[in-house]
């Protein structure tokens, strides 16, 4: 346990030292405040409009950004140590491979958690202080849900990054694959689903199609963040399918949790096989 914690703390200290943690936190804060103020600029108004609209645009943008940050943070976790020669050294130490992997996960997970809480927390405070007559309880609840789900979305992509990092031999390969994973889950998956919807012309049963959304952690994440509101106007694209999903919100959280655990387990298996 102390070994696991030592590894996690080293990752955290690295992120503090190279200012990653600071950069991500500031990015999150600027993003949240910016969206809250200018999210409705397209409709001709500047300033905080309402909670559902803010959360919808915020989660859309976070869907692009958080997976990218998580993948960048963790893609070289194993293959990078291998290239530096430290992996062989670590493996000769009295610690298990799963301890090394979990230590990295705890460290990276903590970095994302701290950045999310600090960044979005700062934004929440700014909105509460700066905007009069904002529905405090609704906003705080929405932000809490947003922060926790963002954290989990980040963890999903950390775990995916470990899968790549345990599988490949070169850091550059891992970086390329990480970009491919990001592209697939952030853009390609939704396009494919839309194409499927259009081309099938309703031949698929409307009961089974919404379940496909569970195959994408980014869609799950957006569903969770919109679940609190009955704002039909905010739900666009493939997410409209989610309205027909006969699943309670806690079920969505559960599936998102599985999306963290399954790739992490797969990474563990791959790491054990790596020579």
């Amino acid at each position: 346990m102390t070994v696991l914690w030592s590894i996690a703390m080293k990752e955290l200290r690295d992120a503090l030292r190279n200012r990653w943690l600071l950069a991500i936190s500031v990015l999150f804060a600027v993003l949240a405040v910016g969206i809250a103020w200018f999210g409705a600029a397209a409709s001709g108004t500047v300033g905080f409009t309402n909670v559902p609209a803010t959360m919808a645009s915020l989660s859309t943008l976070a869907t692009l950004l958080i997976p990218l940050i998580a993948l960048m943070l963790a893609y070289d976790a194993i293959v990078g140590e291998d290239e530096a020669g430290t992996l062989l050294l670590l493996l000769s130490y009295p610690l298990g491979r799963e301890q090394l992997l979990l230590g990295k996960f705890v460290g990276h997970g903590l970095i994302l958690a701290l950045a999310t809480v600090a960044g979005f927390g700062a934004a929440l405070v700014a909105i509460l202080v700066g905007v009069d007559g904002v529905p405090t309880t609704v906003l705080v609840g929405a932000f809490a849900r947003f922060a926790v789900s963002s954290m989990m979305l980040g963890w999903v992509f950390l775990a995916m990054a470990y899968v790549l990092s345990c599988r490949v031999r070169e850091k550059s390969t891992a970086a390329g694959l990480a970009l491919a994973v990001w592209f697939f889950f952030v853009l390609v998956f939704d396009w494919l689903l839309l194409a499927l919807l259009v081309l099938s012309e309703g031949r698929f049963s409307p009961q089974s199609l919404p379940w496909v959304l569970l195959c994408s952690p980014t869609d799950l994440y957006r569903l969770i963040n919109l679940s609190g509101f009955d704002a039909g106007a905010e739900i666009t694209g493939v997410l409209a399918l989610g309205r027909e999903l006969p699943m309670p919100v806690w079920g969505l959280w559960g599936v998102l949790g599985l999306w963290v655990l399954l790739p992490l387990g797969l990474a563990g298996v791959l790491f054990r096989r790596r020579v």
Binding site: T2, V3, S6, K10, A84, G85, L90, Y93, P94
Partner: protein, 290 residues
């Protein structure tokens, strides 16, 4: 207790076998030199002893337990070949990190840094270290927790002659305290005086194993005798000849009994000569099989 016992060990990657039937023991306080060309199986042997790889056949025991067990790993120090460490950490932080992973008190770090001569650079980032300094940091890392078995992979790479001599002095010191050392290298010059036995690996097979005199006998290599003589005209002449080991003393006696001999220099077959000899044997075998 024996530090390392390898018993008929075979290991391969995929369909290629890189180690054939390797048997080797290293006792406490013994320094074994492990020599071989690139790809001879040195690093694979090291990884098997570390327990990072498992043998396909045979058994590897380290300090009385199967290789790779936590107890064996805790009492083992390893210096990998060309490790670059973490550029953003200082030397002291690097050692503290590895000490925590090994479960040894962090308080011993200052002493280790002093021992390898890095005290002045201890709080600088490893990014700024030269290759030799990184090598010395790696050595300090290997010495964490007073290991009873030390595996050094190319320890002298990047070290200047003085640092190399210091390293060998350190190994000597550890040997006296009962630490077993495996020294893996392809730099042969200068190592002779510091190893008890040499193991020469060739294409995954152990070609020779023994102390230097044993290997010299086994190889039957000739000794070099150089004598200086003064002729009646007062000129100094130099004679060189190679003689078989068994004839060496007869030659020396003969040379010594001649009044015109003013100096005799005797050179034994060096480790390099031996290495070349055993290596050549394999090359010939290979040619025959082809």
């Amino acid at each position: 207790m024996t530090a390392i016992e390898m018993c008929s060990v075979r290991h391969g990657y995929g369909r290629t076998t890189v180690l054939h039937d390797l048997s080797l023991t290293v006792g406490e306080g013994e320094v074994l030199g492990l020599f071989g060309h690139n790809g001879a199986g040195k690093t694979t042997t090291m990884k098997l002893i570390l327990g990072v790889l498992r043998p396909d056949a045979g058994e590897v025991r380290v300090l009385g337990v199967p290789a790779g067990e936590a107890r064996a790993r805790r009492e083992l120090g390893y210096l990998p070949e060309s490790v670059s460490f973490y550029p953003q950490l200082s030397g002291r932080e690097t050692l503290a990190y590895f000490a925590r992973l090994k479960g040894t008190p962090v308080s011993g770090i200052a002493g280790l840094l002093d021992q390898v001569g890095l005290t002045n650079a201890a709080d600088r980032r490893v990014r700024t270290y030269s290759k030799g300094m990184r090598q010395r940091l790696g050595l300090a890392q290997a010495l964490l927790g007073e290991p009873r078995l030390l595996l050094l992979d190319e320890p002298t790479v990047g070290l200047d002659p003085i640092a190399t001599a210091e390293l060998y002095a350190l190994i000597d010191d550890l040997r006296r305290r009962g630490t077993a050392v495996v020294l893996c290298s392809h730099v042969l010059a200068g190592v002779e005086g510091y190893i008890d036995r040499a193991a020469i690996l060739c294409q995954g097979r152990l070609r020779a194993l023994g102390s230097l005199p044993e290997l010299q006998r086994e190889a039957g290599l000739r000794w070099h005798l150089t004598s200086l003589r003064v002729d009646p005209q007062g000129r100094t002449l130099r004679y060189e000849r190679t003689v078989a080991a068994k004839d060496k003393m007869a030659w020396l006696r003969a040379l010594a009994s001649q009044p015109e001999t003013v100096d005799v220099e005797v050179r034994a077959p060096s480790l390099e000569d031996l290495y070349r000899h055993f290596q050549a044997g394999v090359d010939e075998q290979r040619r025959e099989t082809v």
